[in-house]
Symmetry: C2
Subunit: 402 residues, 2 copies
């Protein structure tokens, strides 16, 4: 099976940079603080451009989308966003009219500090559902304490974390410009059109006509191909801000760079999935169309039985064919034509020798596991990312609010 979706191959500069010391695009500022939402870790952050931006954002399709998403959607339509304010440890979801007023108040407070219209500020929120914000503390902080300094992306990446165990950062250089991103989200992860929280910022000068379709394509094949647990968040938000400070760049290189940053963040998110010990990548090739490829890939990456087998290092390839079989509407999939491999080891049809299970077990011992499925129904392909299902996931989520 051949590799697919390798946008970084198109990058002249090649490497995606990760970690706290990634380069920061010119002209971005940030503010990070603790306002006492849950404990004494940082829970309030602003990431903003000093100058106007070309911006785009995609949001959860949940019917219970939170007030943050409602307000941000409105600002994407009506404003010219150049900042995003995030409250973590409280999602401000299912909080009624009061929750909506509070989200607007957040945007207005940050806009005052930035001296821009309220409509130019996105709002994001992540954490427990169904609890009002501590608005007195937030108002006090907004009035007195929002000081913006040169962007500290590592601090922002930490301030938006909830059950994440590590911050997620990635950046690439594209011409004279930098594309950098931060993301959070390790549970309630099955983005549908959008994603957890992911903020990408760049100083490239890109027109809206180029930026928006490129961002949508990148989100669709990266964040939307990530799944930790099939549960779609009420707060998913992915934002891209481009302030043009570094001048124009090649359009194809821009999209490739954007894709490389997004894919790196997705892999970091999957690897840090709640309780996860392994990154699981499922690639489907030879599909009738992209939708079939993704449907089958998601059936495999989301199967609790595949995920537990990966966790236990159990070479139970039968569960992969079971998961493929779940796509019962895909009547063109013929069991006798399907091929399954773990890494480069062919699993189905099962080779006629005795060493198969041991070879598969060897693949499963690594902390990155690739499962490949060939459908022989066409030429399309898709790749999705997930993680194993462990006792840790259960323990984290059996006790989350208490």
């Amino acid at each position: 099976m051949t590799a697919i979706h390798q946008p970084s191959a198109d990058l002249t500069d090649g490497a995606v940079l990760t970690g706290d010391d990634i380069p920061v695009p010119h002209g971005f500022v940030s503010h990070v603080a603790n306002v006492g939402i849950k404990d004494d870790t940082t829970d309030f952050s602003v990431l903003a451009s000093e100058r106007p931006c070309v911006a785009d954002a995609v949001f959860t399709k949940s019917r219970f989308a939170g007030p943050s998403v409602v307000v941000s959607r409105r600002h994407l339509a009506d404003g010219r966003p150049r900042a995003v304010v995030t409250v973590s440890k409280n999602a401000n979801v299912a909080t009624g009219e009061e929750g909506l007023r509070n989200a607007v108040a957040l945007a207005a407070g940050v806009a005052a500090a930035l001296e821009c219209p309220t409509e130019d500020v996105f709002v994001a929120s992540t954490g427990v559902i169904g609890r009002p914000y501590p608005m007195e503390r937030l108002h006090t902080h907004l009035q007195d304490a929002v000081t913006l300094e040169e962007a500290d992306l590592a601090a922002v990446a930490r301030a938006i974390m909830t059950t994440d165990t590590v911050p997620k950062l990635a950046a690439v250089r594209v011409g004279d410009a930098t594309i950098a991103g931060v993301a959070k989200g390790v549970g309630m992860i099955e983005p549908d059109m959008a994603t957890m929280l992911a903020y990408l910022v760049t100083d490239a000068d890109v027109s809206p006509d180029v930026l928006r379709p490129a961002f949508r394509r990148v989100v669709d094949r990266t964040f939307n191909c990530l799944s930790v647990d099939t549960d779609t968040s009420t707060s998913d938000t992915a934002v891209l801000l481009a302030n043009g400070a570094a001048g124009p760049v090649d359009e194809a290189e821009f999209e490739a760079g954007l894709g490389a940053v997004a894919e790196s963040l997705v892999r970091q998110l999957a690897r840090d999935g709640e309780g996860a010990t392994k990154l699981l990548t499922v690639t489907v090739t030879g599909a009738r169309d992209g939708a079939q490829a993704r449907r089958v890939a998601k059936a495999v990456v989301n199967s609790p039985l595949v995920k537990t087998a990966v966790h236990g290092g159990d070479p139970n390839w039968g569960r992969v064919v079971m998961a493929v079989g779940k796509c019962s509407g895909d009547t063109d999939i013929r069991p006798q034509d399907v091929r399954v491999s773990f890494g480069s080891v062919e699993a189905y049809p099962a080779p006629a020798d005795d060493g198969l299970l041991e070879r598969l077990a060897e693949v499963l011992r690594a902390d990155e596991v690739e499962i490949n499925v060939g459908l022989a129904t066409g030429e399309a392909s898709a790749r999705v990312w997930g993680c194993d299902l462990s006792d840790g996931y259960v323990r984290i989520n059996a006790d989350y609010t208490t």
Copy 2:
């Protein structure tokens, strides 16, 4: 919210009987043995009528349906089935042409013992995927040892178990007739059109025109409303055999009785879900149509975050609204109109007092948890059954084949 789907209310005799000593319909025989599929527990069983039957069966829609399902489907179309032979601990799935030949040989061997055509025998198989049967041992057993005696349903219920921890049996009396059923299946459970293994036998005299639509309706609202882990088995089979030995019964009472037996088996299956400690029932009312009701109910009962919260006794009602929100295509669902209760305790919109979480926690301490969702989009309703997600599920499935 009012209760729905209570077919037993229509039964003149009322109670559903469960346990090893349920009554057995007249004219049924069985055979149970160990043929050494995996260990020394019973793994081979036959349940049959001494006389011709009106029969029906529904099967998995998996694209990787096993040879047992392929052969049984053919026999439902061409034969007049009155027996089902089951091999447990090996699913005989993804075993190619050899697997199909072996399934036919099983049916033929049992048909010889019963002195009936091969087409009158259903074949079922459950267990690990991708391993051939030990056919020499099976052939030897079929030739010499299939002795049929008065049906021992408790022995059959045990012989079809894999990771089940208890056998599942249920029966009702309908007029002079008895409807009895056995079932197995506690993982890879998300039936789609059919179910795990469930065999229902009755001595009622029912015409095919009455039996088949009644059976399909009952399966649809019982077995198809059960979910342990969203993974659809390759081997799901539900069989109903009616041999008429007890004479005719009222048609409505027959369907009500069939429904009561099936619902009892479903509750037994959910409660014994792999690693489960609690039975979870989700009821959706006020839906636009039955499909919407079931879609929302399944979104809730299948949510790993709802299931882990139920496991941990965590009164995290926000996860229920999150799960409702996942039905993003249901644009008529308005968050402000949705109602959620745990048992009789209203959770959303959240009451304006401080005792809510404690009252919800009290509901969650019971070993049967009911979550009710009102959608206010119409008048339809649905009920589904599942269980909590525990470390036990992970441990069972991280080590299953090895």
